[in-house]
């Protein structure tokens, strides 16, 4: 059985994507299969770094002008059509999710996204992934090769890098490829600041119980004074009271802090997935029945505003 990893080397998060794939390979495949990695990239100065961080020893490089899914899919199909690969692995980011499904369709295979684990069987691949907004885990059997899998965020704790040297098997330059007529103009704006949530040790999260932008502003100050990163749940994100990159949950950041305090968060499963790897969770909520209470280590049933102000006073006094 053979596998190929597909990675977007134009993405600023390439290294962490590659590390997660390495961890996923370690957890699920080990050394039982032969594999290589296809990396799309555009900047020559990053070439060496991309090769060094490849999750497999064998690397195939494709140079493109910029990451554009329609072009990348066309290139991939031409490249892979006559190869007999059983399993394609894609990263857990936007690109990986999109490519896995569309590429599988073009190759006549099957696909699943947000896959947390796989098991290889004879003529089949068993995969687990969340369903029902992260309330349930669904197990599927795929029977149509090639299996195209986009891994789930946080599906592995292993962050491995290979110590063997890498070997570039092939290099293709596709920078002269026709741009097509779909896109007339484009403008890319890089993220102003990375939120840092995924690596933060202490997170304070605002939920639906935070009623207006002024209260949100105050929470921002409390977070700053206590040294916490500020996170938000979906209802707050939808009101645009904080940037979307502060969103926690399956469609936002998947965090694993030492300490997590939630303020006015109800604790829907799709949100909770974003904090379930926290070492310690403290919930402050007026509703004792809210599901966050049972999902926390310790909870205070009261108005989060008063509790946090009191807590801030205690912390500030004890620091003096």
């Amino acid at each position: 059985m053979k596998y190929t990893v597909i990675l977007n080397g134009c993405s600023s998060s390439f290294i962490s994507q590659a590390e997660e794939i390495s961890g996923f390979l370690w957890d699920n495949i080990g050394k039982s299969m032969e594999g290589d990695t296809v990396i799309f990239y555009s900047e020559d100065e990053k070439r060496e770094e991309l090769i060094e961080n490849s999750p497999t020893a064998f690397v195939r490089l494709i140079k493109i002008t910029r990451y554009q899914p329609e072009n990348v899919l066309a290139i991939l199909k031409d490249l892979e059509l006559n190869r007999e690969v059983d399993l394609y692995l894609f990263s857990r980011d936007f690109a990986g999710n999109e490519l896995s499904v569309r590429f599988a369709y073009r190759m006549g295979g099957s696909s699943l996204v947000s896959v947390s684990k796989i098991e290889i069987g004879k003529g089949m691949l068993t995969c687990c992934r969340p369903a029902y907004s992260n309330n349930m885990e669904a197990k599927f059997t795929l029977r149509k090769k090639p299996y195209c899998i986009a891994i789930a965020q946080g599906s592995t704790d292993h962050k491995l890098t290979l110590d063997t040297s890498r070997q570039v098997l092939s290099e293709v330059d596709m920078t002269n490829m026709s741009k097509g007529t779909f896109i007339k103009e484009y403008e890319f704006k890089g993220e102003e600041e990375a939120s840092g949530l995924e690596h933060s040790k202490f997170i304070l999260i605002a939920g639906r119980g935070v009623k207006d932008n002024k209260k949100m502003e105050r929470l921002r100050e409390v977070a700053k004074k206590t040294g916490a990163e500020l996170g938000i749940s979906r209802p707050v994100a939808m009101k645009a009271w904080a940037p979307m990159n502060r969103l926690i949950g399956v469609s936002g950041a998947m965090t694993k802090p030492e300490l997590c305090i939630t303020a006015g968060v109800s604790g829907a499963a799709a949100f909770f997935a974003g904090i379930e790897k926290s070492k310690y969770i403290i919930a402050i909520n007026t509703d004792e029945e809210a599901s966050i209470v049972k999902s926390s280590d310790v909870a205070i049933i009261d108005d989060y505003e008063i509790v946090l102000e009191e807590l801030l006073k205690i912390i500030e006094t004890s620091e003096k």
Partner: protein
């Protein structure tokens, strides 16, 4: 939200959610509001626009379609279905594409990126593939440009991309701020919200053979509740200040010091 005890999986791997209040999926809601905003823009530019809403499911969904009539959609259509297609996005994509190809041609198809039950995250991508149209994912804003072009903003890895694109295309809506769906006026509800919903049967879309193939190619084997439970110790105290003090002394101080 269902309580822990309510997540009961039966022998068909179904979960009874009939007693829970139905709501629009958050991505679908954003997609609908974006469509309405786009319609407002386009009308402002005097470009003709025709809005169709399509859903697949049973009669319970008609209430949403009636609201969309009241919000001035031109056509609301339900494709009646009683098959279990929760985990078969290929079927949903097949029906949508066939409808667009053979019954009611469109320039743009706007969909939410993921449903709350199946969580497949595949339907918009498969619609694009079947129709051989380009697709933009994680869309957060759609504006009119010219008659056959749109200005589409979407989240991509590492930033935000704004593109002027040519139709036809599929737009898959992601985490879009400020996209709660508007509420129709009472007047519009009375005037437009009572139109009959068009209904087609899913059998008309030749899905029988495809159903068997899809179920075999990607077969659901089990569904299990993910447990999120922790200790959930509730701090008792007379005042918020007292509770904050107990929290700090017994649970927080040491942990903060270790950070």
């Amino acid at each position: 939200m269902l309580s822990n005890e309510d997540w009961v999986v039966d022998s068909n791997l179904s979960i009874d959610v009939s007693f829970v209040k139905n709501i629009l999926n958050c991505f679908d809601e954003s997609a609908l509001e974006m469509t309405l905003k786009l319609s407002d823009y386009v009308k402002g530019l005097n470009i003709p626009i025709n809005l169709t809403a399509l859903t697949i499911g049973d009669k319970k969904l008609d209430t949403y379609l009636k609201t969309l009539y009241a919000l001035r959609f031109d056509k609301a259509l339900r494709i009646n279905n009683n098959e279990d297609i929760r985990f078969l996005p290929q079927i949903v994509a097949h029906v949508i594409s066939q409808y667009v190809k053979e019954i009611n041609k469109q320039d743009v198809i706007i969909l939410g990126r993921q449903s709350g039950e199946g969580d497949n995250g595949k339907t918009p991508l498969l619609v694009a593939e079947i129709l051989k149209w380009p697709c933009i994912t994680q869309v957060i804003n759609i504006e009119a440009d010219k008659e056959d072009t749109l200005k589409v903003t979407n989240m991509v890895d590492g930033g935000i991309l704004t593109q002027i694109i040519r139709t036809p295309c599929v737009l898959s809506v992601g985490n879009a701020p400020n996209s709660y769906m508007r509420v129709p006026t009472l007047r519009d509800k009375m005037k437009y919200g009572k139109r009959e919903i068009d209904v087609l049967e899913i059998d008309e879309f030749n899905i029988k053979a495809l159903l068997d193939t899809c179920r075999n190619e990607c077969e659901l084997k089990s569904l299990e509740k993910i447990s999120h439970e922790r200790q959930g110790v509730i701090i008792e105290g007379k005042t918020p200040a007292e509770k904050a003090r107990i929290l700090y002394d017994s649970y927080l101080k040491e942990r903060l010091e270790k950070l």
